[in-house]
């Protein structure tokens, strides 16, 4: 199976080429089949690779395909690195990707851009696979930029809407900021280590010892890239806006896969971070700040997808928190479980939106559990999983993160629990407002309500099952289970293992789990009292809000602050440049040269009198002068 690894990215690429070139001539059924089929093929190979790695003795394969760039000392092969970490990501990407492709067949069936959508999705999967499979930072960077491009294309999928286009541009530009950091990081890696292959870099880094300034700078620059791609403070504002794209896109790109690229990158470079405690502290602090910040915004949003978007930002914050305290396995574990339940929640939200005929405002929903029971049950499972309810998958991954954080720093743990409480609250607020109480939409919408087709509900059910059992691969020792994931990933994080150990007594761990569960139940009860028992509905736009509520409802005015502090000065500056430098200086020089030439020729041509005698005279004089200059 390892030998077939080149097929994994090639299949989606072929899907993209076929659908992209001939999509308009093929029937929708065929496009859907090709689009999902190639991903299924990749998934099948990924499963084979996974088991070969799991059961085999060799835990790391480097498959060199061809020599890509070689110039002077620089030699970059185009090669794939297959180890537990990348094979796990392969499974997540192709597995969740396949389900979302199947879902899209139903969700996008009425859209005129059906084939374009599948072409983009396949291209995205291709780049995402490239990102995680590459054996050096450059291939990762190619994938990194490629997924950014696909994200841009898919956010602006309905490009006739200006707001959607602006959201796409915003995502693209914000990612550029992060990508610059990433690129500088790669350059610095090359300058420092003379290579950008993971193997060479990590081997050399191991010998450099802890606390090296260069390594800290590299780690921080790479983290800037992660901030952009994984929507961390201060570069997170593009992700909520990215919800302009079709819902399957939000599920695949902006929840399950692309936004976790930053976590993959840091987990991949774990040794660089382990050697730099300062960089890890930065990662942890940014992570917890983002987790809390986004969670508070999520408390007051009324758009079903926006709530989920802020929830994604917040959960990504948790993953970075885990990375920052050295719990690499925990972070990757949470990536996996989050991919399951957040994709489930997004797809469930898509099913709700589908049933509501495009309505996204939860104030106009309510009581939907009667009408769309499959969606309701799967959504509830997803909600319980993200809240961290035992024995759903979220419980195990979140517990692992929080236990590691507790061992590292008690204050961070407290904030983590606070964030978890808010997560539970806003998710159940969303759940109760959407599925319980009375229907608040129009009669037309009520009449229109219907369960989604099987191509949409089956992926929901599969993801719901995964959200329930996904956590079982990482049962902590304290619950007398085996942490399969940790075992599986251990070769990748071996070099960093001296920081990974957390010494908590079993008693402490039980208490931590107990506290988390109590907090979760309290948050659910609180949400239940307000939004189900009392039937409170969030106020309308035009009503006056209390100051704190207003602050959160308006997302801390971060967008407005960025607008005032960055966008407007930049616009003013470019306008000034346009008017002064461009219009006056550059145009002045160009036009000046032109008019100088025509003025000079206008003057000199007067010498052309038409008098032949004068011409001859000038000729003779000139010859004489030339002869004279020759003489001396």
């Amino acid at each position: 199976m390892i030998k077939l690894v080149w097929l994994v990215p090639l299949l989606p690429l072929m899907g993209f080429i076929i659908i992209g070139l001939f999509g308009k001539k093929l029937s929708k059924g065929l496009v859907g089949t090709i689009g999902s089929g190639v991903i299924f093929g990749a998934l099948a190979i990924a499963v084979g690779i996974f088991f070969e790695l799991k059961n085999g003795v060799q835990k790391e394969y480097t498959i060199e395909l061809f020599n890509w760039i070689s110039a002077g000392k620089l030699s970059i092969p185009f090669s794939f690195l297959i180890d537990p970490l990348s094979s796990l990501f392969l499974l997540i990407i192709t597995g969740v990707g396949f389900l979302i492709h199947v879902y899209s067949v139903g969700y996008m069936s009425h859209d005129e851009g059906f084939s374009r959508f599948f072409a983009y999705l396949n291209l995205f999967i291709f780049f995402m696979l490239l990102l995680v499979m590459g054996s050096n930072y450059l291939i990762m960077f190619v994938g990194w930029e490629g997924v950014g491009l696909c994200s841009y294309l898919l956010i602006g999928f309905w490009f006739k809407n200006t707001a959607y286009n602006n959201a796409a541009k915003k995502a693209f530009i914000m990612n550029r900021v992060g990508d610059l950091g990433f690129l500088l990081g790669i350059i610095l890696i090359f300058v420092t280590f003379g290579s950008i292959g993971y193997h060479d870099v990590f081997e050399q880094a191991k010998n450099m010892g802890s606390g090296n300034t260069t390594i800290t700078i590299i780690a921080l620059l790479l983290f800037v890239g992660a901030m952009g791609k994984s929507a961390q403070l201060p570069l997170y504002t593009w992700l909520p806006d990215a919800m302009a794209g079709p819902t399957p896109v939000s599920a695949l790109i902006h929840a399950a896969t692309m936004v976790t690229a930053g976590i993959y990158m840091i987990a991949r470079s774990n040794i660089l971070y382990t050697l730099s405690p300062e960089a890890m502290n930065v990662v942890a602090i940014i992570g917890i700040c983002t987790a809390l910040f986004a969670a508070t915004i999520g408390l007051a949003q009324n758009d079903i997808k926006k709530v989920l978007a802020y929830s994604t930002v917040s959960q990504l914050g948790y993953m970075f928190l885990a990375l920052g305290v050295g719990a690499y396995t925990g972070a990757v574990f949470h990536v996996m479980t989050h991919a399951f339940f957040k994709a489930l929640l997004f797809l469930g939200a898509g099913s709700v939106i589908h049933a509501m005929g495009g309505e996204q405002d939860i104030r106009k929903m309510g009581g939907l559990k009667k009408y769309i029971s499959k969606t309701h049950i799967t959504f509830l499972i997803g909600t319980l999983a993200i809240a961290g309810c035992f024995p759903f998958s979220g419980f195990f991954s979140k517990d692992e993160i929080l236990a590691n954080v507790f061992a590292h720093n008690k204050l961070l743990w407290f904030f983590g629990i606070l964030g978890a409480a808010m997560t539970t609250f806003y998710m159940f607020r969303l759940y109760f407002l959407t599925f319980h109480g009375k229907f608040r939409g129009t009669h037309e919408q009520e009449h229109h309500l219907h369960e989604s087709p099987p191509s949409m509900t089956i992926p929901l059910i599969v993801l719901a099952v995964l959200s329930i059992v996904g956590g079982l691969v990482g049962i902590p020792a304290v619950l007398h289970g085996t942490h399969y994931l940790e075992e599986f990933l251990s070769p990748v994080f071996e070099a960093s293992s001296f920081r990974l150990v957390h010494h908590l007594s079993h008693q402490t761990e039980y208490i931590l789990m107990g506290v988390a569960t109590v907090v979760m139940i309290a948050a659910i009860y609180y949400a239940y009292t307000i939004y189900s028992k009392k039937n409170t509905i969030p106020v309308d736009e035009d009503e006056e809000l209390k100051p704190l509520h207003k602050l959160v409802y308006n997302k801390y005015w971060v967008d407005e602050i960025y607008e005032t502090l960055i966008t407007k000065p930049l616009n003013l500056l470019s306008e000034a440049f346009h008017k002064v430098i461009d219009n006056q200086l550059v145009d002045g020089i160009v036009n000046g040269v032109g008019s100088a030439v025509s003025w000079m020729s206008g003057t000199i041509r007067l010498a052309q009198t038409g008098n032949i005698g004068f011409y001859i005279f000038v000729m003779v004089i000139s010859i004489v002068l030339i002869l004279f200059t020759q003489l001396f």
């Binding site: 052309q608 009198t609 038409g610 008098n611 032949i612 005698g613 003779v620």
Partner: protein, 105 residues
């Protein structure tokens, strides 16, 4: 000693300088196109004379070869030039070159 070398080289020099200067002066001062033409021929022949003289004194036949070339080119030039002159005369009924001043800025 050939016939040319009976006369000293300085005399050839003086003669051809005089002829050349007359030619230049004629070109500059006269307005009749035919006279200008003749003056040009005079300059050419002044040069020819000098070439032949030097060729003989230096015992190098290259100079005489040049003379034949110059003669051939001059003949061609005269043929073209006189044709132009003819057309000018037919159109203007004059051979005064100052009439031909329409082609200017």
């Amino acid at each position: 000693m050939s016939a040319i070398q009976i006369v000293p080289i300085e005399w050839y020099l003086f003669l051809s300088i005089v002829l050349f200067t007359i030619g230049v002066a004629g070109v500059l001062l006269r307005r009749n196109a035919i006279i200008i033409f003749m003056s040009i021929e005079l300059m050419l022949n002044a040069v020819n004379l000098l070439l032949v003289a030097f060729s003989s004194y230096l015992s190098d036949s290259k100079g005489q070869v040049f003379v034949f070339f110059i003669m051939a080119v001059a003949a061609a030039e005269v043929a073209v030039g006189l044709a132009i002159l003819m057309m000018v005369y037919r159109n203007t009924k004059s051979s005064d070159i100052n009439i031909l001043n329409k082609l200017k800025w």
